[in-house]
Each structure stands twice: as C-alpha cells, then as structure tokens.
C-alpha cells in the first residue's frame, strides 16, 4: 500500500487532544490559583499557585463522609451485582420451564430506562422504609440485565462435559457456579465489577431522589449541593471537583484496557 504522510494526522489528533484536555487543565489551574479567580484577563498559568482551596474544601465539606457513603453504596452494588448476576446468568444457561418468559422479561426490562421509573421507584422505596438509607440507595442498582447476559455468554463457553463431570462428583448447583464457572469467567467478572462500580459511583439522579439528610449524601450529590450553596464564587468548588475526579482518573489509567472493554461491552449489549 502507498505510504501516506503522517504529520497531518498527528496535527489533527494533537489539536483534538488539546481540546479534550483543556477543560481539565482550566479547572485544575483554577483550583490551585492563588489570585482572585474572577480577575480578567484570567491567567493561563496559575500565578502564585498554592493548595489553599484544597484545604478550604476539606474544611467546608464533609468530604470524607461523602467519600465513605459513595464507597459503601458502590461496594454493595458491586458485590450484589457479581453474586446476583452470576446466579441469574448461570440459571439462563440451563433449560427449564418458563425460560422463554424469563428471557422475554429481561429483554423488555432492558428497554425501561431508570428515568422512566423515578416516581414509583421513590414511592416503592418509601413503602419499603428504605428512604435515606444505604440499602435504599443501592437496591435498584443491585442487579443489571446487561451484566447477566455478560455472565451467561461467558458461562455458555464453558464445556458441557466439565459441568457434567462436576455434577457426577456430587457438586451442588451452587458450588458449580463458584468452583467451576467463576474461575473460568474472569473477564466477565471484571466487566461486572467495572460497570457496577462506574454506574453506582457516578449515579446522581437516584441519590438526589432518595436521600434527605446531609449524612447520607454521596460524592456527586455533595458536589451538586456545594455548587447550589456557593454558586461559582469560590475556587474551593474546583478543588472539590478535582478531588472527586482524581480517584476516577487514576483508576481508569491503572486498568485502562479492562475499563474500555467493560464499558463498551456493557453498552453494546445494552
């Protein structure tokens, strides 16, 4: 094949990369800026940089509390997703009366976006007495249909003979899932963990609806609350924003391949 010049491609991609990164830079710059953030013209490189706004944010905001809340809710969601989806995914690899109905139900439920359920979901959670609690926050996110099918696909690839052998050895169905299937489904587990984590960690609408007390707020909610109290007037908002984003960016960079694979397979199957 004819070789083409590379530099125009590099130029185009460099421009796009700069455009993609500039918003991050602008916020980080503001968060470490030592001058009035509303001075015009804004400085492109922070003048007399310091971490004052971070200290400010730390004392203004119960950051640790939000962080712990987010961690607890996301952990419940992740653990529940792996266990419940693996069980349901395994069930779907078997033949049983009513399987077409269950498949139909799952595929139809996939069509119902969470946004179309908020009013009754709130009322139901209220009847269950779970408003303003960790379980109420986590419950709707405890099982995901996409992820059930990710597990099903992975389990379908396990040779039949292996399962039959395990059954002859007297393993119960429950132990077949955990001793035979799961060790062979590492990438499905990774996809489950990543999707469940990203979805519950970033979720804003549901916490906004079910939490009342400041003590139960998760990070996105805390961030939005802080914005509504302070408007854009303080650099501490941007310090808070960076503190919220940093763990996510770090995590993404550490497990990039798994993240990209998990996130795209989640959406392509959803």
């Amino acid at each position: 094949m004819r070789r083409y010049p590379r530099w125009p491609i590099h130029m185009a991609l460099l421009t796009v990369s700069v455009l993609m990164l500039l918003p991050f830079y602008w916020v980080v710059k503001t968060s470490v800026s030592g001058e009035n953030i509303f001075a015009y013209p804004p400085s492109v490189i922070p003048k007399s940089p310091h971490l004052f706004y971070y200290v400010d944010a730390w004392y203004y905001i119960p950051f640790a509390r939000y962080f712990v809340n987010s961690i607890v809710v996301s952990s419940i969601a992740v653990v529940a997703n792996v266990i419940l989806n693996a069980m349901a995914g395994y069930a779907l690899t078997r033949d049983f009366v009513g399987k077409p109905f269950v498949l139909f139900l799952f595929l139809s439920c996939m069509m119902i976006p969470f946004q179309a359920t908020i009013i009754p979901a709130y009322l139901i959670t209220g009847r269950l007495g779970l408003l303003d609690s960790y379980w109420g926050l986590a419950l709707p996110q405890c099982s995901t249909i996409v992820c059930i099918f990710v597990f099903k696909g992975s389990f379908d690839a396990v040779p039949r003979s292996l399962v039959d052998a395990a059954r002859i050895d007297g393993l119960s169905e429950w132990r077949i899932i955990w001793k035979v299937m799961m060790p062979l489904a590492k990438s499905a587990i990774a996809t489950n963990v990543i999707l469940a984590f990203v979805w519950s960690w970033n979720n804003f609408m549901w916490p906004l609806i079910v939490t009342r007390s400041a003590d139960m707020q998760t990070l996105p909610l805390g961030l939005a609350r802080f914005l509504s109290y302070q408007e854009d007037t303080t650099g501490a908002l941007y310090a808070f924003c960076v503190m919220v984003l940093a763990p996510g960016v770090l995590l993404f960079l550490l497990a990039q391949r798994e993240f990209i694979q998990g996130l795209t397979s989640g959406a392509t199957k959803g």
Partner: protein
C-alpha cells in the same frame, strides 16, 4: 425429578427477578395507573380519566418546550457520531502514539457527569471562562457571551458538553468496527485500482454500518435519558430554555410534588422511547437487536 432440578434455577433467578419486578415492571404499571388518577401522598386517589393527558397536550407549554428541547438534544447525537467516525479513522492509522491519543479522547467518558457539568460551567463562564476569554482575545466577539444564561446559547452549550463526554465512547466502538474489517479486502481493492475514496465508500462504510448504527442508537438513548448534565449546568434554565422531558418529570414529581401529572408525562416519555427504538429497529431491518445482543 423435574421440579427438584428446576428449584435451584428459580432460586438463582429470584433475587434479580425481584429487583426488576420491583424497580422496572411495577413502576411502569404504577405510572400508568397514576396517570389516570388525581392523587398526592396526602390525598385519596380519584379517577379522572384522561384529564392529566389533556392538560399535558393542550394546556402545558412547558411540556412542549421540554419535548422540543429533547428532540434537538437527540438530533445532536448523529453529528457527534460522525465527528467520532473521523477520529476513529485517524486513530486507526498506523502512527506512533495512537494509544495515547485514544486514551486522551476516551477518558472523559467514564467520569462523573456532575463533575463534568461543573467543569463546563466554568469553561462557559461569562467573564473568565476559557471560551469567552479565547473568543475575546481573538476579537471574535466584542461582548462576552453569557452562554448558560442566554436563551439562544444555553442548549447548544449543554449539547457541546455532552458531545465532549460521549465522543471517545463512539470512537472506541467505531474503532473496534474498523479493526474487524479484514485488511485483505483493502489490498484486493487497491490492486484492482480502486481509489482511496472509493475504498472508503465501498468497503469501510458498508462494513461499518452495524457499528455506526449502534452508535446512533446508544447516542439517541443517552440524549434521551440525559439528566445530570442539564440539572447541574443550567437547572433547565434560563426560563425553560434547556428543560428536557426528564428534568421536567423530576421537577414535577419532586419539586412541585405533582406525582400524578409527572406520571402522565412519564408515560408519554416512555411511549416516545419505545417508538424511537422500534423505528430504529425497523430502519436497520431488525439488525440493531442482533448487534446489541450478540
């Protein structure tokens, strides 16, 4: 025997089924019932037939505004996908550092949308936002534009932020599609003397169709369900300039406590979603489902 072997299966399915019945199926039915009633948490329910829907269709300008904004938001998705197609072709080229480019373009996708919204509020800020600063420095504008407080600019600004977040995601999907096209097709076409443009239209585009279509569908559904970005960036304002159906439903339910009316709007919202998905499926000749569930 049959029943005994089926029992564990149903036990495995039960927890997930309960969650979906509780948070998907039951809400759908409840919405439908609620939309025909006059009800609030402190009041006994009364059947009112179609009057909620009448109000929605004939007496509620905000509803129509929100619907129109939602349609514009959805219509922006294909533009973003075409931009992403360009990027996917670029990062598919055999160049050094392409993995770094891919990472940079993708990284905004998994981030918390609330934080992304705050970032973009600051970018669009009237006085010291980067966009106004650059535009003023280049003498493109004489007066700074109050992007998020202007009826004209607020919705395009939110759409721009949404595109920024979604671009990398579309790019990766399209890139995977590009990489699945066998290289020897291009080689054969090149030997036959097909020009690069011809190869693009005759090989790349037809074989990329499923991925493109998937992006369009995911993009439309994403716009359709978008809430966080609008809520934090503009709160639906100024006026109702960026009100979407979802933000309107939220406000009706949890700000004005009109659960019954919010339910009616939700029923409409869901019907619209089903109609869009169904016609998308028809357009692709039933292929969309196959791609989504393979």
């Amino acid at each position: 025997m049959r029943i005994r072997s089926a029992l564990p299966i149903w036990c495995f399915l039960a927890p997930s089924l309960v969650i979906f019945l509780l948070y998907r199926v039951l809400p759908l039915a409840w919405n439908l019932v609620l939309s025909f009633q006059d009800w609030s948490p402190l009041k006994a329910a009364r059947w009112v037939g179609l009057s909620q829907y009448e109000e929605m269709l004939f007496d509620d300008e905000v509803f129509w505004q929100a619907l129109w904004n939602t349609v514009i938001f959805i219509a922006s998705a294909p533009i973003a996908v075409l931009l992403a197609l360009g990027l996917a072709l670029l990062v598919n080229a055999d160049i050094r550092g392409r993995n770094i480019y891919r990472t940079i373009i993708f990284i905004s996708y998994p981030l918390m949308t609330v934080a992304v919204a705050i970032i973009w509020r600051w970018m669009f800020e009237e006085r010291v936002g980067l966009i106004n600063y650059v535009a003023r420095s280049l003498n493109l504008v004489t007066q700074p534009i109050p992007f998020l407080n202007s009826f004209q600019w607020a919705l395009p600004s939110v759409i721009a932020a949404n595109t920024w977040q979604m671009l990398g995601f579309y790019m990766i999907i399209l890139l995977t599609g590009l990489q699945n096209i066998p290289e020897n097709l291009y080689e054969a076409a090149a030997i036959d003397g097909a020009s690069a443009r011809r190869r693009f239209w005759r090989i790349t585009v037809p074989l990329l169709k499923p991925s493109l279509f998937l992006c369009f569908v995911v993009g439309m559904l994403n716009s359709f369900a978008s809430f966080d970005l609008v809520y934090v960036m503009t709160g639906g304002g100024p006026g109702r300039a960026t009100e979407l159906l979802v933000t309107y439903i939220y406000k009706l339910g949890f700000v004005q406590t009109r659960f019954d009316y919010a339910a009616a709007v939700t029923v409409f919202y869901f019907a619209l979603l089903v109609a869009i998905t169904w016609s998308a499926n028809r357009l692709s000749g039933g292929n969309a489902g196959a791609v989504e569930r393979d």
